[in-house]
């Protein structure tokens, strides 16, 4: 059931490639706006790079949250999935995993290229990738709570931002902290460990909150 659901979501996403690409291009455009707005001084760009990359990743992943449950909710599939004998927890986990592969993994892949725009060293680029790899699943899984709560509501997109962004703040702090540490020559290990801890805790608890929210929204 689990792998079937992941596979199904991946196929659906593949058939709507433009949606996925839009998120990636949003990420690229937002990060490219900062050097234009702030000016091309290398040192300034270097200092803002961790924050810019992470904030852009936050916004891009938030934009794609509506896709986790939105289409399934509209055509009634979600109701059937909640009614299956399998725990809703697993359904949520599968859909979050698919969403991460579709919407977040491309960001992780493209991020080092954007890091080059900001003059980051190879060492820092590795940390960018590592922190995003650990952090973006947290964004997906926490974001799924907001996505489930706002299913079918008026102005759901704006509401999701309001609900989810405050909850993203710890990830933002740890993620950009890791990159910042690597820039100043300090060890980013502590930040990465904190990110990993956040990932583990949120993977255990957030799908549970999401399935509760789904049951509330679907009934």
């Amino acid at each position: 059931m689990f792998s079937w659901l992941v596979w199904r979501d991946l196929i659906l996403a593949w058939r709507r490639r433009a949606d996925v690409l839009a998120t990636v291009f949003f990420f690229i455009i937002v990060t490219s706006l900062f050097p234009l707005g702030i000016g091309p001084e290398r040192e300034t760009l270097k200092t803002i790079a961790p924050g810019v990359v992470w904030v852009a990743a936050l916004l891009a992943s938030m934009l794609s949250l509506g896709r986790i449950f939105g289409n399934d909710y509209q055509d009634g599939t979600l109701e059937q999935l909640v009614l299956t004998p399998q725990p809703t927890y697993l359904v949520v986990l599968a859909k979050v995993l698919a969403h991460w592969i579709v919407s977040e993994l491309p960001l992780v892949v493209i991020a080092p290229v954007l890091g080059l725009q900001f003059g980051l060293s190879e060492n820092s680029l590795v940390i960018v990738i590592a922190s995003l790899l650990l952090g973006t699943p947290v964004l997906s899984v926490i974001g799924s709570i907001g996505a489930a709560l706002t299913l079918g509501l008026r102005a759901a997109n704006v509401l999701v931002a309001l609900l989810v962004l405050p909850l993203y703040i710890p990830v933002l702090i740890f993620g950009s902290g890791a990159v910042q540490a690597s820039l100043t020559g300090a060890s980013p290990q502590a930040w990465l460990l904190l990110l990993a801890a956040t990932l583990v805790v949120s993977l255990v608890f957030a799908p549970w909150a999401t399935s509760a929210a789904l049951k509330i929204s679907v009934e």
């Binding site: 509501l153 309001l162 405050p166 909850l167 710890p170 702090i173 957030a206 929210a213 509330i216």
Partner: protein, 245 residues
């Protein structure tokens, strides 16, 4: 053992709670006003001028109780929302809905007064210090809760969705709280801490008087708002027509 048992759930029914709450409001509202006047008098006329901060520290008499209430009311909101969700107790859900605006207002007051105090004391209106940031996040959590509830038309779903959000927000509170240690802050030295200034007894008196005033004010206002929410939601109930008549 007497065979007369106390009905613990009596006041969980809006029909019983509504008139009782109406009678209770003056008992909280009147002392709140008295404590506020006395507290303000002690704070502004009796408490001595601080030798470091001059007169501007008096803002803290309002700032500190407001900040405490802002945090405390969020925890209360989450507890009531959780009870309402878990046990289908609709009065508890209404209570959570009634608490939210008061908590948001106190958080807002604490942010504004903190900023007004920060200008003379730190030389800046705002610092990205962990304490300030976490209070700002608290404000966002309140706003998220209120806007989520107000955008769901179905009352039952609004209550439950709000409960999920409130409880998730509570899990975030310790993370925010410990960010004092994690945050790479340049302004750590300027953080308010309990030991940063010794309080004169009259200063402490003013602070606790105003804290009491904030407590009583919150209870009174929440009860008033709760009565309006009950009236709105139980429009069809026959008991309401009786009470109103």
């Amino acid at each position: 053992m007497s065979n007369r048992r106390i009905n613990w759930y009596k006041y969980a029914a809006p029909a019983n709670f509504y008139p009782r709450a109406g009678k209770m409001i003056p008992f909280f509202a009147v002392p709140a006003v008295i404590l506020f006047i006395v507290g303000m008098y002690v704070g502004f006329f009796v408490a001595p001028t601080d030798f470091q901060q001059g007169e501007s520290y008096r803002i803290l008499f309002i700032h500190v109780p407001a900040a405490w209430m802002g945090m405390f009311l969020y925890v209360m909101l989450a507890i009531y929302a959780g009870i309402g969700w878990a046990f289908n107790a609709r009065l508890a859900s209404m209570m959570a809905q009634a608490i939210a605006p008061t908590g948001a207002i106190f958080t807002f007051i604490s942010l504004v007064t903190g900023s007004l105090w920060g200008r003379p004391a730190w030389g800046v209106w705002w610092v990205w210090d962990a304490r300030l940031t976490s209070t700002l996040i608290l404000m966002f959590l309140y706003i998220g809760f209120i806007s989520l509830q107000s955008s769901i038309d179905d009352v039952r779903r609004a209550d439950r969705a709000g409960a999920v959000l409130a409880l998730v927000g509570v899990i975030n509170v310790p993370i925010i709280y410990f960010s004092v240690q994690w945050w790479n802050s340049l302004h750590q030295g300027a953080t308010i801490s309990k030991n940063s200034f010794k309080m004169a007894p009259s200063m402490a008196a003013a602070m606790f008087l105003l804290l009491g005033a904030c407590w009583l004010y919150s209870i009174a206002v929440v009860l008033v708002r709760l009565r309006y929410i009950i009236r709105e939601r139980e429009q069809e109930a026959p008991w309401l027509a009786e009470v109103a008549a």
